[in-house]
């Protein structure tokens, strides 16, 4: 991200907002800090009543990891404030020149959660097909004739492969009950 230049003199709130946007990586530090605090609290409130051999009990490693998280959160904050930036990952289908498309990410997350809720009442074949179709829709595919067909075939084939061939049970749901 580069510094923004505007012709209009920025108001203090604008300035603060753009500063925050540029330093959004500080959010990672906050998360690491919170995680470190969580791990430490959990470790220190652990009541170890078993007599242990050696200096390293079940608490030791969590305490070390927790302290490590706190230290790294601080170091990362210093790095970010000094102008350091994590390099966003690139790839074949990734175009970093455009701003992030949060709608698609939220839609995908919603579709995934929906499928998770539906897998037990509706069974894997239906919930899986809905997951595929929904995800393809979220990613911009609008072929109403082709998308559900591919989703259904993929889901049924996967169900058969895992449930019948590999012996990994998946819930069949009402659809398999009928068949």
């Amino acid at each position: 991200m580069t510094t923004q230049t505007t012709d209009i003199p920025p108001t203090p709130t604008d300035e603060r907002r753009s500063w925050l946007r540029e330093h959004s990586e500080l959010g990672v530090c906050v998360l690491l800090l919170a995680l470190g605090a969580l791990v430490l609290t959990d470790a220190l409130t652990m009541d170890v009543d078993i007599t242990q051999r050696g200096p390293v009990g079940p608490k030791t490693v969590p305490v070390v990891v927790g302290i490590g998280l706190l230290v790294i959160a601080a170091l990362l904050a210093v790095d970010v404030l000094r102008g350091g930036h994590g390099q966003a990952e690139t790839g074949e289908d990734i175009d970093l020149s455009e701003p992030a498309d949060w709608r698609t990410v939220l839609l995908l997350t919603g579709v995934f959660l929906g499928a998770a809720v539906l897998i037990e009442p509706l069974g894997f074949p239906i919930a899986g097909a809905l997951l595929f179709w929904g995800a393809a829709f979220a990613l911009g595919s609008r072929r109403v004739d082709r998308d559900p067909l591919i989703a259904g075939v993929l889901s049924l084939a996967t169900y058969a492969l895992f449930n019948n061939l590999l012996g990994v049970p998946l819930p069949g749901g009402p659809l398999m009950g009928v068949m």
């Binding site: 490693v61 998280l69 990734i94 997350t109 997951l131 595929f132």
Partner: protein, 497 residues
């Protein structure tokens, strides 16, 4: 020759019809996955971890090895025809391969890459056969302190050698170690980070972490930045080489493995560095210097051969020491854990059928790859046209299948999504994924070895450094840690001299 006899037995295992089938499925799947943009071999093996619930270990590992080699093979096709390499190891293939394809020599570029992979894989695997039993024998007496030292080395190596920022690498490692802590303590049964939840008491399954970070995280990240119009692949015919090409490239094929193999065996980032070194070497030795940058065939042949050999080198460290040096090796290590097998020097004694069957299947896989991929190249190129919504919807779908298959619990899907979102954030802010995965996989194991070592020594810290092996490993670790400092000194010396 003990190793040769064992290898012959291995061929007996690998050449049974069912294992041949797994090898064929592995290389076909691996090539397809390598060609497909957006899916790397680590994600592929992670997505396929659930098959370990239904398959015997020998079949599963033969298939995984096929995927590893196949994906390397397929990755170069994408680089040559599309010029947007997704994996760092394939970057070099695009540098000369893509100009070749643009000037109508795509078929030759693909052939040079394919034969390069065959040669590199072959020489690399022969080196594996020759070296692995020796390494295993040298390391056969290693105990808890040594294992702990190796794991510390793995932690330090993945955080300080890879990626551009050590702080971000360490942050990633600590996230992984935290995820690994969740559940009952292995030695005392104490609940850690479970918050009273019964589901969390079993810990977070490695499959869910690997699939979440590699597959869901990647799919969400790509979704946020999906290219509106995917790049168009360059059409290509059947790969072939004429006599002049072969004359130019055979030395490059032969040199590549000796650069790739050692780099694969040490934790230095897999194929990335050796492919680049091979490129530079070939450029220096080339008689056609004017062609470089415009499509010099040696620049495809050498690096691709080095890439394949580095995969073989990776297997040496993974099988003999249990030290994963790449993301794929880390996920394969997770698969070993699923079967309750501990890779390490004893693996060659305890599971000879598995190890030698796996090694023999590498030779089988390479022959299959060469035989299938030369004629199938135009078909593979068609895969590059797959509509992206289907590709990433499919990744989400199979990730869900994998996580649900772990225990048939809906809560696992929710955990998968949360870990996927963590993976998304890590990609956004440049935290490398590999340290987190290594942390989850090796963390609990490292803690156990540490505590075992300290119990043996009755709490004395000297119990961690009382073997020459451990001391050596710690010395290597110290050099890695001090490397940025050392490098500065070396550079300063050179400048002042």
């Amino acid at each position: 020759m003990d190793a040769l006899n064992s290898l012959m037995d291995g061929f007996g295992t690998a050449l049974t019809p069912i294992n041949l089938l797994w090898a064929a499925i592995g290389v076909l799947l691996g090539t397809a996955i390598g060609v497909l943009p957006g899916i790397g071999p680590a994600m592929a093996v992670a997505l396929l971890l659930p098959v370990t619930y239904g398959l015997n270990p020998i079949g599963a590992f033969i298939m995984f090895a096929g995927i590893y080699y196949g994906a390397m093979f397929g990755g170069s096709t994408t680089s040559i025809l599309l010029n947007t390499p997704g994996e760092s190891a394939a970057v070099v293939a695009a540098m000369e391969g893509n100009p070749m394809a643009k000037s109508g020599r795509g078929a030759q570029a693909l052939a040079a890459a394919a034969i390069g992979h065959f040669a590199g894989g072959l020489i690399g695997t022969i080196l594996l056969v020759a070296l692995a039993p020796t390494v295993a024998e040298l390391a056969v007496d290693i105990g808890a302190p040594d294992y702990f030292a190796i794991m510390v080395l793995a932690f330090i190596a993945v955080t300080s050698v890879l990626g551009s920022s050590r702080i971000r690498g360490l942050a990633s490692l600590l996230i992984g170690l935290t995820l690994g802590l969740v559940g009952l303590d292995q030695m005392t049964g104490q609940q850690r980070l479970t918050f009273g939840s019964l589901q969390l008491a079993d810990g977070i399954d490695v499959v869910i972490v690997a699939v979440g970070l590699f597959a869901i995280g990647e799919a969400l990240w790509v979704a946020a930045h999906l290219r509106r119009r995917p790049p168009e692949p360059i059409p290509v015919g059947r790969p072939w080489l004429d006599r002049g090409d072969v004359k130019r490239t055979w030395k490059s094929w032969a040199r590549g493995p000796f650069i790739g193999f050692p780099f694969g065996a040490i934790p230095a980032g897999g194929a990335e560095i050796p492919t680049f070194l091979s490129y530079v070497t070939e450029k220096r030795l080339s008689k056609h210097k004017d062609e470089w940058g415009k499509g010099a065939i040696e620049g495809v042949a050498g690096p691709e051969s080095a890439a394949s050999a580095s995969a073989a080198g990776t297997l040496v460290s993974m099988l003999t020491l249990g030290l994963p040096t790449t993301a794929v090796a880390a996920v394969m290590l997770a698969a070993f854990q699923q079967y309750g097998i501990q890779p390490g020097p004893l693996l060659f004694e305890r599971e000879p059928d598995l190890v030698w069957g796996l090694i023999a299947s590498l030779f089988v896989g390479m022959v299959l790859l060469l035989a299938l991929n030369l004629p199938l190249a135009p078909v593979w190129a068609k895969l590059l046209r797959i509509p992206r919504p289907y590709l990433y919807a499919g990744i989400m779908f199979f990730a869900a299948v994998g996580a649900y298959a772990v225990g048939g619990e809906v809560i696992d899907l929710v955990i998968l999504l949360i870990i996927g979102l963590i993976g998304f954030g890590m990609r956004r802010y440049g935290l490398p994924i590999l340290p987190a995965v290594i942390g989850v996989i090796l963390g609990p194991n490292a803690e156990q070895q540490l505590r075992r070592a300290l119990q043996i020594s009755d709490g004395s810290v000297t119990g961690l450094v009382n073997t020459p092996f451990a001391v050596t490993v710690y010395a290597v670790t110290a050099v890695l840690l001090a490397w940025p400092l050392l490098k500065r000194l070396v550079v300063r010396d050179r400048v002042s001299a």
